[in-house]
């Protein structure tokens, strides 16, 4: 692994540690990013995702560890010697230059011939649909337009990897949603590897080929959107991605890929373990709100409780259920035309869980 600097990976991070004095920003991070991939680093603020991006860009040196770009070690190279480009969070457009001068900046530093610079500027401005504003200055553009200029400027020199540092966070919701589709389209059209940093899980889930969930300077899990949502590896991932219900359990019996667990109310349920488990250990089960169905209190439901509150979400309804031990469960149901089944606060309900949707976590 330590010499596995294969050229098939766009970026390879090996045991990178970054300390700022006593603050540990990155602790032994290793990951690989494939060529042509839309790779997202997702985590709460302070988790080290931006630091890792800046390590790849060359703005931060590492305390220890190695960084490879298509098999070449780049750790120690200054940013201007690395064939990667960055879209900055606040765009960092050169205020005194026009849009086309901003976009041409990198090409001119790379000594592209003049005709080629002009053609390339035109090409990327077309790609981000900004050709009409080429002679404007950044201060005369809206936030969304500035964002496109930043993208065009970073794409123009045809980087091997494009780094994006929360580029959508300054935009309003509608624009952000439109830009998600746009970014994905541009990534697919150009075939450039995108490394995208965000704290917004919806952004990560909708755009990424693979996601690295980070917290406390460490990678918690890497996988496709579906994998990290449906098969979280630990409690942090289950809790951070989407909403989930976590229940204390004790592992009673381990079968083939399934563990039988005992809930605190004495009932048993089957869960898929997220890793190695042993009989008798305490853990949690994670159940997504949409994997639970409610019925009028009967005898055979897994849990029983009382409806505490209903939150109408348009596409569905979120029920907050109070359990006898005081814990609260979230249950989401799709809106249907038959509202006869609707529950009211105070109703006693039984909760049934879809088999196969329960995840056992023991960290």
């Amino acid at each position: 692994m330590s010499q596995g600097n294969s050229a098939e990976f766009a970026v390879e991070i090996q045991q990178v540690v970054k300390h700022y004095g006593s603050v540990k920003a990155l602790e032994n991070v290793s990951l690989t990013i494939r060529d042509n991939e839309f790779f997202t680093m997702l985590g709460p603020s302070g988790c080290g995702k931006t630091t890792l991006l800046r390590v790849i860009a060359g703005f931060e040196s590492v305390t220890s560890g190695r960084v490879f770009l298509f098999g070449d070690e780049i750790e120690g190279l200054p940013p201007n010697k690395r064939p990667v480009n960055t879209v900055f969070q606040q765009y960092a457009l050169f205020p005194l230059m026009t849009v086309s001068q901003n976009v041409a900046f990198g090409l001119l530093r790379l000594k592209y011939p003049k005709a080629k610079v002009e053609a390339r500027v035109q090409e990327v401005l077309d790609l981000v649909q900004l050709s009409a504003l080429a002679e404007r200055r950044p201060s005369q553009l809206s936030g969304g337009q500035q964002q496109r200029v930043a993208l065009a400027r970073a794409l123009a020199p045809e980087p091997k990897v494009l780094l994006l540092d929360e580029p959508l966070s300054a935009l309003d919701l509608k624009l952000r949603q439109a830009m998600r589709v746009e970014l994905k389209r541009i990534q697919e059209e150009t075939g450039i590897t995108f490394v995208f940093v965000t704290h917004d899980q919806e952004e990560a889930l909708t755009m990424s080929d693979r996601i690295a969930v980070m917290s406390d300077g460490q990678v918690q899990q890497i996988g496709s959107a579906r994998e990290i949502y449906e098969q979280p590896r630990n409690r942090f991932v289950a809790d951070f991605i989407g909403e989930t219900n976590l229940l204390d359990v004790k592992v009673e019996q381990i079968g083939k890929g399934v563990a039988t667990c005992r809930l605190s109310n004495g009932k048993a349920l089957e869960a898929i373990p997220a890793g190695e488990v042993t009989t008798g250990t305490a853990g949690y089960v994670s159940i997504r709100p949409e994997q639970i169905t409610l019925d009028r209190s009967g005898g055979d439901s897994l849990l029983e409780g009382v409806v505490d509150r209903l939150i109408y979400l348009g596409s569905g309804t979120q029920h907050l259920i109070r359990l006898p031990d005081g814990a609260e469960m979230i249950v989401k149901s799709q809106s249907t035309l038959q509202q006869a089944q609707a529950f009211k606060p105070g109703d006693a309900v039984g909760l049934c869980v879809n088999p196969g949707a329960v995840r056992l976590l023991v960290d």
Binding site: A57, G58, F59, P78, P79, N80, V84, N85, T86, F88, Q90, A92, L93, F94, P95, L96, F105, G106, R109, L110, R137, Q140, R153, A154, P157
Partner: protein
Amino acid sequence: MAGATGQDTGQEGPGVYAEVRNWLLAPSWLTIAIFMLMPVLLMAIYSFLTKEFRGGVIWDFSVASYDQFFLDRGLFGDEPPQLQWAYLTIYARSITQAGVATLLCLVIGFPTAYFIATRPASTRTGWLLLVTIPYWVNLLIRTLSMKFLIRDTGPINEWLMAYGFLDTPIKMINTDFAVQLGLFYSYLPFMVLPIYAAVERYDFALTEAAADLYSDRWTTLRLVLLPTVAPGVIAGCILVFVPSLGAFLAPDLLGGAKNFMIGSLIEEQFKGQSGNWPFGATCAMVLLTMVLVAVFFYARQQAKSTRAGS
């Protein structure tokens, strides 16, 4: 500025407040009138009066001072007039000296300001204080100290000779260099402070963006940092150049007799019994006109480039 604030308060309470507001501005107007407009006006009037031999003026209109400044009519004043070079030469020398001093201030002041502006915010005030500490001492004392420092038997020459670097002292005192050094020392903070203010506002993400786009340090400085902080640099240059032009302490004490500058020329006209007040006023008026014309052209240039930019 005053007009803009005036409009705001005028909207809140028309009538009564508008009148009060004008009265509140009166002290400012009075201060400007007494301490800025009056002296300049007085100087302009005096430059057109006739000189009295023991200093002072006779209230008779005359253009004799301007004639003396610009035209050479020979020793007895009866030859056909030619352009008088004596004073213009002093002005040209002053401009050169002030220009070199400004350049020195820029070369030393810019890195200093950049250094301070890039320290952690909590320590910047301390650094700025260090820059200003020498200025708690009177300018005359500081200029005299400089004289003792660089004279032939001063510590610099003596040390260099004691350690065998030199056989004869370097001639520093009474040279152009001494004057430039004195001016540089006198006005350095006027360069540092505006540049500091500009660099402090500068967004260093732009430097990162430039580096990310394959720009080396010098190119980033030339194409990104300098254009962005240019207003601060220009303000610093004006603040150093203009007072350097009229300075007389440094040229007098460090430059000796052959490095006569505008400041000394004017000073001489008002000193003792040998003075010539109208001529001194004329010298000052010519200097003022030159500076005003330069500032006017600069301002017009700025306005033009701002308009082109937007």
